[in-house]
C-alpha cells in the first residue's frame, strides 16, 4: 500500500506555516562539511508535489542518519520542525523530531513527481545552503522579522501537536525506527513519550504563555532547538545549578567566570559568563528561578566540563540579556535520564549517570582520611528501584552529613559516577546534584511502588554488601591454597583472610629491644654501658621499648603455615602488651610461659599478606599477619553453608 504524502507540506513548511505531522519522502541525505562540532545532515524532502533541500536534521536526530535509518526514498512523518530564517533571508526547516513510517523498499520508489520548490528562483544547491547555514548568526535587519515568525511556527507546531493528540496512537509502525530523540527530549523523562497526549500541563504551558501575552513578553523556543545557526531566539528556562565565580590566570592574561545550567521541557544546556558578564549576571541568576534568556553565543559543548546532554553550550556576551520571569509550571525543575538500577551492570564503569531510587537503608556517617591527609565525611546509602535491584551510593562531605534517611525517601542523583567497586556502585561527584523526594513523576511512581510492594522485595544488591564481612572484600582462602595457588609469587603482594588455629608460637626471640623514639621501631644495640644505640636515628638512648616480633605456626584442617606477627597482631594473639611481656620474661618466667600456653590452640580470623621475598639468593614466600579478629561463628557458618551449596550444584 502506498503511503500518502502530505501534498503542499513542503511549501507550507518553507513558508513557516502550520502543518500537522506532514508525511514526506526523503529523497536524499547529505552530510554537511562542518568545521567543527557534531555532523549536520541536510535532507531533501518531497511531499509528492514539491521537493526541497533546505531541510536540516537537528543534531539530536543525528543517530538516525548514523544508524543508516534515513535511506533515500523512505517515508517519514515530521513530528516537530521549526523554520528558521537565515541572515540572507533563506528559510531552513530544522527537523527536531521525526518518525520513519516506511522504509525505502516499502515505499517502492519516488512517490509522485515532485519539482524543486523555490521562492525566488534560487535553486537550492547543497553548497550554497551549507555556506549559508554555517554563517554565524549575526543580528541583521532581515532577521528581525524572522524570529517572530519562527516562534509563531513553534507555537503553532505545538498547538498542532496537541490538537492532533488523539491521532497519535495510530502511526505506531516499525518500532525500532521510532525516533524519539534521546537527548534533550522534548518530553519529560523518557518512558513518558505519550505524555503530551495526556494533556499534561508541561506541554501546554509554553503555548499558554505565548498565547496569552503577545508582543510584550518574548516567545520562547525550546532549548533542544538551540544551535549555532539560529539567530535571534529567546529561551525560558530554570536554573538548575550555579557555580561560584572562579578566577583564572594564565599566559593570556586573567579573568573570571561563572557557569550555570538551565533546563526546560525540551532539554538542558550549560551557560558560561566571562569577565564583564560575570558582574552583570552573577547576582541576578539564582538557582531554582526561571528566566528569559536571549542573545547568547552557541558553540559546540566542551564535554570535559559538563555532563549535560546537549551538543552545544552557551556563552553570554555584551548583548545577552537575562530577564527574570514568573515561575511557570511548565518548566521542570530538573532534567534527568534515569538508568534503572538493574541496567547499571551493563553500563561502563566511570560513566556519568543519573539514578533514582528509594533509600532502603543508610549507614552512618564515617570520617576518612584521604591520602592527601584531608578528613572527609562519607556515607553509604542503599537505593532500590522497581527493578528490585539495590545499589550502594556513596555520599561525600556535606551531602553525607546532611542526608536524612528517615522515612525511606526517594533519592534522585544526577551526574554521579558509576564505579566497579564491589561490583557496581555509585559515587557522588562534586558536580552531581542530589535531590531528596524530588517533585518529578518518576519519584511519585517510585514512592507508590515502594509503599505498595517495594518494601517487601527481597532485593539483590549490585554492590557486595560489606556490612557483614569485616572491612573490605575479604578474600577467603584455606591455608593449603597458599601453596597450591602459589600465592605471593607475582610482583605484587597478595592479601587473603583465613580461619586458623594457632599451633605453636616461638617464645624465644619473640621480643626485641627497640628504639624508644616516636615511630622508629629499629632494634637498638646494647652498648653494655647502660646506653642503647639506634642506627636509624643515629642516637643513643638510656632506655628502650620492648616490641614483639612473633613467629607462629597456624593450621586449619588442610595445612599449616608459618607466619610473622608484628607488635599489634601479636599483642592481640597473646592478649598482653609487649612491655608487660618484656617485664614478665625478666621477672616471672612461669607466667610468661603461661601466656603462651593460653594463646595456643585458639582459633581466629587472620588477615594476611603473602609475598615472595628474596634474602641472599634465597626466595621464600613470607606470610605476615595484618590483622587478627575473633571468629564470628554466625558469619563463618553462613559462609560455609553457602560454600556447601555451591559445591552441591
Amino acid at each position: 500500500m502506498t503511503v500518502e504524502l502530505t501534498r503542499g507540506a513542503v511549501e507550507a513548511l518553507f513558508k513557516g506555516s502550520q502543518v500537522n505531522n506532514p508525511v514526506l519522502q526523503l529523497l536524499n541525505i547529505r552530510q554537511m562539511s562542518n568545521t567543527s562540532g557534531p555532523p549536520r545532515y541536510r535532507l531533501i524532502m518531497s511531499d509528492g508535489q514539491h521537493l526541497l533541500s533546505s531541510f536540516l536534521l537537528a543534531t539530536q536526530l543525528n543517530h538516525l542518519a548514523e544508524d543508516n535509518l534515513l535511506v533515500p526514498q523512505c517515508v517519514c512523518m515530521l513530528r516537530r520542525a521549526t523554520t528558521n530564517t537565515l541572515s540572507d533571508g533563506r528559510h531552513v526547516v530544522v527537523v527536531v523530531e521525526m518518525e520513519i513510517l516506511k522504509s525505502a523498499e516499502e515505499a517502492g520508489g519516488k512517490i509522485g513527481n515532485p519539482t524543486p520548490y523555490s521562492t525566488d528562483g534560487k535553486l537550492s544547491s547543497p553548497h550554497k545552503v551549507s555556506s549559508a547555514t554555517s554563517e554565524p548568526a549575526s543580528a541583521s535587519a532581515a532577521e528581525v522579522s524572522g524570529p517572530s515568525s519562527t516562534n509563531n511556527n513553534n507555537k503553532d507546531w505545538r498547538k498542532g501537536f496537541m490538537g492532533k493528540a488523539p491521532m497519535k496512537t495510530s502511526p505506531m509502525m516499525v518500532s525500532p525506527m521510532k525516533t524519539s530523540p534521546m537527548k534533550g527530549s522534548p518530553m519529560m523523562v523518557s518512558p513518558m513519550k505519550t505524555s503530551p497526549m495526556k494533556g499534561s500541563p508541561m506541554k501546554t504551558s509554553p503555548m499558554k504563555t505565548t498565547a496569552s501575552l503577545p508582543g510584550s513578553i518574548p516567545k520562547s523556543i525550546p532549548i533542544a532547538t538551540l544551535n549555532p545557526y539560529t539567530s535571534k531566539w529567546t529561551i525560558k528556562a530554570r536554573v538548575t545549578k550555579k557555580s561560584n565565580i572562579r578566577n583564572w590566570s594564565n599566559s593570556k592574561g586573567d579573568g573570571k567566570l561563572f557557569s550555570f545550567e538551565i533546563v526546560d521541557e525540551s532539554g538542558e544546556i550549560r551557560i558560561t559568563a566571562f569577565n564583564n558578564e560575570v558582574d552583570r549576571f552573577f547576582s541576578l541568576v539564582e538557582q531554582g528561578k526561571v528566566y528569559y534568556i536571549s542573545k547568547g553565543t552557541l558553540k559546540v559543548a566542551n564535554k570535559q566540563y559538563t555532563t549535560l546532554k546537549n551538543d552545544y553550550e552557551m556563552t553570554l556576551h555584551a548583548h545577552s540579556s537575562i530577564v527574570p520571569c514568573e515561575d511557570s509550571p511548565g518548566i521542570p525543575t530538573v532534567q534527568c535520564d534515569f538508568v534503572p538500577i538493574e541496567e547499571l551492570e551493563n553500563r561502563d564503569k566511570d560513566a556519568i549517570i543519573d539514578v533514582i531510587g528509594v533509600c532502603k537503608s543508610a549507614e552512618d556517617v564515617s570520617r576518612i582520611t584521604t591520602k592527601a591527609s584531608r578528613e572527609v565525611s562519607k556515607r553509604a546509602i542503599n537505593l532500590i528501584d522497581t527493578t528490585g535491584k539495590v545499589v550502594t551510593v556513596t555520599l561525600w562531605g556535606e551531602e553525607a552529613e546532611k542526608f536524612d534517611d528517615s522515612g525511606q525517601p526517594v533519592v534522585a542523583i544526577k551526574g554521579a559516577r558509576l564505579s566497579d567497586f564491589g561490583g557496581r556502585s555509585i559515587s557522588v561527584l562534586f558536580s552531581s546534584t542530589i535531590m531528596v523526594n524530588p517533585d518529578i513523576p518518576e519519584a511519585f511512581r517510585l514512592r507508590a511502588w515502594y509503599d505498595q510492594e517495594g518494601y517487601t522485595v527481597d532485593s539483590q544488591s549490585l554492590t557486595e554488601t560489606m556490612s557483614r564481612s569485616i572491612g573490605s572484600k575479604m578474600n577467603w582462602k584455606l591455608l593449603s591454597d597458599v601453596k597450591n595457588e602459589n600465592m605471593g609469587h607475582g610482583a605484587k603482594a597478595e592479601y587473603f583472610s583465613c580461619v586458623a588455629t594457632v599451633l605453636y608460637m616461638r617464645k624465644e626471640n619473640c621480643l626485641y629491644q627497640a628504639c624508644p623514639s616516636g615511630d622508629c621501631n629499629k632494634k637498638v644495640i646494647d652498648q653494655q654501658n647502660g646506653f642503647y644505640r639506634c642506627e636509624k636515628c643515629n642516637r643513643e638512648f638510656p632506655n628502650f621499648r620492648y616490641r614483639l616480633l612473633l613467629s607462629a605456626n597456624l593450621a586449619d584442617f588442610g595445612d599449616n603455615q608459618w607466619v610473622t606477627c608484628f607488635q599489634e597482631t601479636a599483642e592481640v594473639l597473646l592478649g598482653r602488651k609487649a612491655e608487660e611481656l618484656g617485664q614478665l620474661r625478666e621477672t616471672d618466667e612461669a607466667e610468661f610461659d603461661e601466656v603462651f600456653q593460653k594463646a595456643n590452640f585458639t582459633t581466629h580470623i587472620f588477615k594476611n599478606r603473602v609475598k615472595l621475598e628474596t634474602y641472599n639468593d634465597e626466595s621464600r614466600v613470607k606470610v605476615t599477619v595484618m590483622e587478627v579478629l575473633p571468629v564470628d561463628h554466625r558469619e563463618y557458618s553462613r559462609r560455609l553453608l553457602s560454600n556447601i551449596q555451591k559445591l552441591a550444584r
Binding site: H633, R634, S637, L641, I644, A648
Partner: protein, 122 residues
C-alpha cells in the same frame, strides 16, 4: 542414662522426628511452654515447628531460651529426655536457631560426609 551417652545421637528437628522413632537423638530448640507439673515442655525448632519433651523428674529450675535435649523419640513422636542443657542467652554469642537449622539440613542431605556410625570406618 549411661547407655544413651555412649550412642551417637544425630541432631534433628521436628520434621525428622518420625524417622528416628525409638532412637536416641539430640534436639535443639527454643522453649515455648512449660507444663505446670514441670515434667513436660514444648520446644520450637528453627523451622517453626513444635515438639514435646517429657522428663523423668520435674524441672527444678526456670527453663527458657534455647535448650539442647538428648533423649529417645517415642512412638508418638515425643522426646523422652534423658538430659538437657540450657544455652544461656545472657552469656556468649546468641544462638542462631535458623542457621542451626540450615546446618541440620546439610548434615542430613549429605550423610556420606557426616556419618553417624561410631568409628565404622572401612
Amino acid at each position: 542414662m549411661a547407655g544413651i551417652l555412649d550412642v551417637p545421637k544425630p541432631r534433628i528437628n521436628c520434621s525428622m522426628l518420625s524417622q528416628f522413632i525409638n532412637r536416641a537423638v539430640c534436639f535443639v530448640g527454643r522453649v515455648e511452654k512449660v507444663h505446670p507439673t514441670g515434667k513436660m515442655f514444648t520446644v520450637m525448632d528453627g523451622e517453626g515447628n513444635t515438639a514435646t519433651v517429657e522428663l523423668n523428674e520435674p524441672l527444678e529450675e526456670e527453663l527458657s531460651g534455647i535448650v539442647e535435649v538428648i533423649g529417645m523419640v517415642s512412638n508418638k513422636g515425643e522426646i523422652m529426655a534423658s538430659t538437657y542443657n540450657m544455652l544461656r542467652e545472657d552469656k556468649g554469642v546468641p544462638f542462631d536457631l535458623e542457621l542451626y537449622n540450615e546446618a541440620l539440613k546439610v548434615i542430613h542431605d549429605f550423610p556420606q560426609h557426616y556419618p553417624f556410625q561410631v568409628a565404622a570406618s572401612g
